[in-house]
């Protein structure tokens, strides 16, 4: 992990989009800019660290909370089902919106792509030139998905990457790669 002073620098480095420039929707707590900055901090940790154990606990608890509330009749047992649960139910609970699409990779059976426009952790963040394209604040969401999958007994690795689409704006894609073929139990 980077040293404390390195991290301290980084908290200052990343600035904010000004409201009129972005026309951004706002995150308030039951949303708060705090959450965004916080998640930025965690995003940096995620980028710097191999392990993101900090969010692991978080996601486990969130999953328990959500599952307890939704009370689905059956536990999800296929990767597709759990991903659909995450992209629709979980995302609706967290951010009140759904991700754009969920696709299976043609290259690899265990790999899935989740597209999202305008992920919430990236609101209000503007990147300094050095970090542009390298640091994706949506890594927070990637970690969230990873933890949810882990808590649901589907170990996987999740990365957040930028994808430039035709209009030359970047969509975020979460690349989900399940570790083994068999589903839970």
């Amino acid at each position: 992990m980077g040293s404390s002073s390195e991290r301290a620098e980084r908290f200052d480095v990343v600035g904010w989009k000004t409201p009129n420039k972005a026309g951004a929707a706002h995150v308030a707590v039951k949303a708060s800019l705090v959450a965004v900055v916080t998640s930025l901090g965690l995003g940096l940790f995620l980028v710097d660290l191999a392990s993101d154990s900090i969010l692991h606990d978080l996601r486990w608890r969130m999953l328990n909370l959500i599952v307890a509330r939704e009370r689905p009749k059956k536990r999800d047992t296929t990767p597709v089902a759990i991903l659909q649960f995450i992209t629709s139910t979980c995302w609706k609970t967290f951010y009140d919106k759904e991700t754009k699409s969920l696709q299976r990779s043609t290259a690899n059976e265990n790999e899935f792509f989740i597209h999202e426009d305008d992920p919430v952790p990236s609101h209000f963040i503007s990147m300094p030139r050095e970090l542009q394209g390298r640091l994706n604040c949506a890594s927070f969401n990637a970690g969230l998905i990873r933890g949810l999958l882990h808590a649901a007994q589907f170990p996987a690795s999740v990365r957040a990457v930028f994808l430039n689409n035709e209009k030359n704006t970047a969509t975020t894609v979460y690349v989900v790669k399940f570790f083994d073929k068999s589903s839970a139990n």
Binding site: H26, V29, L33, D96
Partner: protein, 186 residues
């Protein structure tokens, strides 16, 4: 309902929201990670304050832009806006403002419900941790941007057995408008 209360409610309703539990647990995870990294509780407190300060510097823009609030005539008005509009908009909680000193420069914000502290229990190894210190930093940073130098301190913490979390806010002085350090002539 006072004007500020109504303003706070309408601003809160208009803003996009995220799940409060997600926010609370994220903040908890952040603090836990800081404690693990820094090990020294005082450093964690200072770090939380610094983070809060950075947040406050930006949050004030958001507050002013969204609420369209006019200039405050006194520190009492400022405290009222902070609690009824600011905290309402961003945390959906309205702390009570009381315990004013004679000159009207110090007050206490009493939180009946502090969303940062839901589901939290402090272990004995973190007895000195000021869990909500980020709020102190936010207040300091935000008010600094509007030329009020305030000092904020958590005087009572619900996580440590006190009935409620309370933050003491004191106005030190009004910041004069002057050129930044780089531009001053020495």
């Amino acid at each position: 309902m006072s004007r500020n209360q109504r303003l706070g409610e309408s601003c809160y309703n208009d803003l996009e929201k995220i799940n409060a539990e997600l926010f609370t647990l994220t903040y908890g995870a952040l603090v836990a990670q800081l404690v693990r990294d820094m090990e020294d509780v005082d450093k964690v407190n200072a770090k939380l304050d610094e983070m809060g300060h950075n947040i406050g510097l930006r949050l004030i823009d958001e507050l002013l832009a969204k609420s369209g609030i006019a200039r405050c005539g006194s520190f009492r008005e400022t405290a009222d806006v902070v609690s009824k509009v600011g905290f309402k908009m961003f945390l959906n909680t309205v702390p009570n403002v009381d315990n004013w000193n004679e000159r009207g420069t110090e007050c206490t914000l009493v939180f009946d419900d502090n969303p940062l502290e839901d589901f939290v229990a402090l272990p004995s190894s973190c007895a000195g941790l000021k869990y909500s210190n980020v709020l102190c930093g936010v207040l300091r940073g935000a008010l600094e941007s509007v030329h009020l130098a305030v000092a904020c301190e958590i005087v009572s913490d619900a996580l440590k057995g006190d009935p409620k979390t309370e933050i003491r806010m004191s106005l030190k002085h009004v910041i004069e408008d002057e050129a930044g350090e780089d531009y001053r002539e020495d």
